[in-house]
């Protein structure tokens, strides 16, 4: 589904990623873990087209997507969420999700300003689709609230709802449970599984080990910009190199 091949990235002489390769299979929940500064978010930024990599390539379903812009990638079915919420704060929750349907609609500047019949019909469809995403993520009750006023838990859900509205094939989630309480984290775990069961591949960067071990089918561990290990949750838990990276060597 998604293949990262030998990707490297430097920031002013500091190597954030050094030749990282990963393969993520279709229809799975893949976890990427690692201590702070391991390069997880950098990897996400490269895959989602926000940064160009210095070396290496990224493939989505055999297609080379290295250096494609985010607005092109979402049309190919790749979308992401942000760890530090990047919601459209002054828009309502519903409107946030409606922006997610941007690529699934086509009305231009003029037809929007003139409110042509075709545009009105499309607008109705956008609203309906957006409501479906809100209901799936349990946000229907706060639909008319300003996004900036949401508590963190609902904000993280809105990130996911908005991403789902783009009808992705693969969704990259950057720490969807960070800062959430146990009950909220369980909700996120259920939602992630539901998304996988819809046939969408999920890639998860997460610090909450319990969540990662519980939901992921496959885990890759990054440390200091390199891949340290990969395997099933059980294999990772028993891997001495991983334990050392997290706890430090004696």
């Amino acid at each position: 589904m998604l293949k990262v091949s030998n990707v490297s990235k430097n920031f002013g002489g500091v190597a954030a990623l050094r030749g990282v390769s990963l393969t993520i299979s279709k229809g799975t929940i893949a976890g990427i873990i690692g201590p702070n500064g391991a390069g997880k978010t950098t990897l996400f930024n490269i895959i989602s087209g926000l940064y160009p990599q210095d070396e290496g390539e990224v493939f989505l379903e055999e297609r080379n997507i290295s250096f494609l812009s985010p607005e092109k990638l979402v049309r190919l079915g790749l979308v992401r969420t942000f760890q530090n919420l990047e919601l459209f704060g002054r828009m309502t929750v519903l409107e946030n999700v409606m922006v997610g349907l941007h690529t699934k609609s086509s009305s231009g500047l003029l037809s929007c300003a003139l409110r042509l019949p075709k545009q009105r019909k499309e607008e109705k469809r956008i609203v309906e689709e957006a409501w479906k995403c809100l209901e799936l993520c349990g946000l229907a009750e706060v639909a008319e609230k300003e996004a900036a006023s949401l508590p963190l838990g609902q904000g993280r859900l809105l990130e996911v709802a908005r991403a789902l509205a783009t009808e992705p094939k693969i969704i990259l989630m950057d720490e969807p449970a960070a800062g959430l309480n146990t009950r909220e984290t369980t909700g996120v775990a259920d939602l992630i599984r539901k998304i996988r069961d819809m046939g969408i591949t999920v890639v998860l960067v997460e610090h909450d080990m319990e969540l990662v071990m519980e939901v992921c089918d496959h885990i890759s561990v990054l440390n200091l910009g390199q891949k340290l290990a990969e395997g099933s949750p059980r294999e990772i838990q028993d891997n001495s190199a991983v334990i050392n990276a997290y706890l430090g060597e004696d």
Binding site: G89, R90, E95, V99, A113, R162
Partner: protein, 315 residues
């Protein structure tokens, strides 16, 4: 458009329609012609600043460019003023579209500087190309617009002329706000990176809205040229760009009716500020600071805040 906006727009249009009957041929009606032009200009800037979150300090010059092209076409080449108005709007928006590609790559202060530069360049052109524009002493003898036997050379006719365009501008801007493109613009304003992840081509969209803003500004400029029949560079300088910015901020970022309020206040204000002479720009600056500090959402924000308060108390 939201239902409340529809009702408000309808009521507003009716008020405008009957205003000349109440005001008759008075000075205030004359001022309302300029309020109409400034409303168009404020909305044009609001599309950029309030909707898309992109600043422009060159709006006054785009307005001037429209005015000068209209003036030159109609007075020097005898082109029908209506046609000239359309041609100017197309030229000015094309200029904005082309210039927009490089400058709208910039953000924040850098964009402010670039648009300021654009304004200054155009202002110098208005002043220096004396053969075309008449330079600092101005461009006299611009013909009035005509419709059949009706000539737009008095305040009542000009009022209806200008407000016809201003109301259309308001209507289109209101429609745009609650639409796919309006949401994409506001998304770019709140988080450009997230908007791009959602598939919004932020750069192209900003360039397009800059061109649309220039189109409206140019129409306002043509209306100004043909109603006043005399134009001079001083009307299109940096001070006026700042004045437009003040209108939008005072009225409320992103609010169409706010743009009208801002335009009305800032157009009436000079009448009241005459006593300060050249220091009026200081008052504008002060107003801008105070509003940013105490009512960041402008008059429109204040109105909806009061409405919400009354609603809560009546419950």
């Amino acid at each position: 458009m939201k239902k409340t906006d529809q009702i408000l727009f309808f009521a507003f249009s009716v008020c405008i329609l009957f205003l000349p009957l109440i005001l008759k041929e008075s000075y205030i009606l004359h001022v309302f012609v300029f309020i109409g032009i400034n409303t168009m200009l404020a909305i044009a800037l609001n599309l950029l600043l309030g909707y898309a979150g992109q600043i422009s300090l060159g709006q006054g010059a785009l307005y001037g460019l429209g005015a000068y092209i209209s003036a030159i076409l109609s007075a020097k080449y005898g082109v029908n003023p209506w046609l000239g108005m359309g041609v100017s709007a197309v030229i000015v928006s094309a200029v904005a579209f082309i210039v927009g590609f490089p400058i709208l790559k910039l953000r924040g202060h850098y964009l402010a500087m670039a648009t300021l530069g654009l304004g200054i360049i155009l202002y110098i052109i208005f002043n220096e190309t004396v053969d075309w524009t008449g330079g600092p002493s101005g461009f006299p003898g611009i013909p009035n617009l005509k419709l059949g036997s009706l000539t737009f050379d008095n305040d009542v006719a000009n009022f209806y002329l200008v407000w016809f365009f201003a109301l259309i501008t308001m209507f289109l801007a209101l429609n745009l706000y609650q639409s796919r493109i309006g949401r994409a613009l506001r998304a770019v304003s709140d988080s450009e990176v997230a908007a791009r992840i959602m598939g919004v081509d932020a750069w192209l969209l900003k360039v397009k809205i800059f061109a649309a803003s220039a189109f409206i500004s140019s129409l306002a400029g043509s209306l100004y040229a043909h109603t006043v029949t005399f134009i001079a560079p001083a009307s299109f300088g940096f001070n006026f760009s700042v004045e437009l910015l003040t209108m939008v901020v005072v009225g409320g970022l992103g609010s169409v009716f706010g743009s009208f309020l801002g335009a009305a206040i800032l157009t009436l204000l000079p009448e009241w500020l005459r006593v300060f002479h050249d220091f009026d720009i200081v008052i504008y600056g002060l107003l801008l600071i105070l509003i940013m500090m105490f009512m960041p959402r402008g008059l429109a924000g204040l109105v909806s805040h009061l409405k919400a308060k009354v609603y809560v108390e009546s419950k």
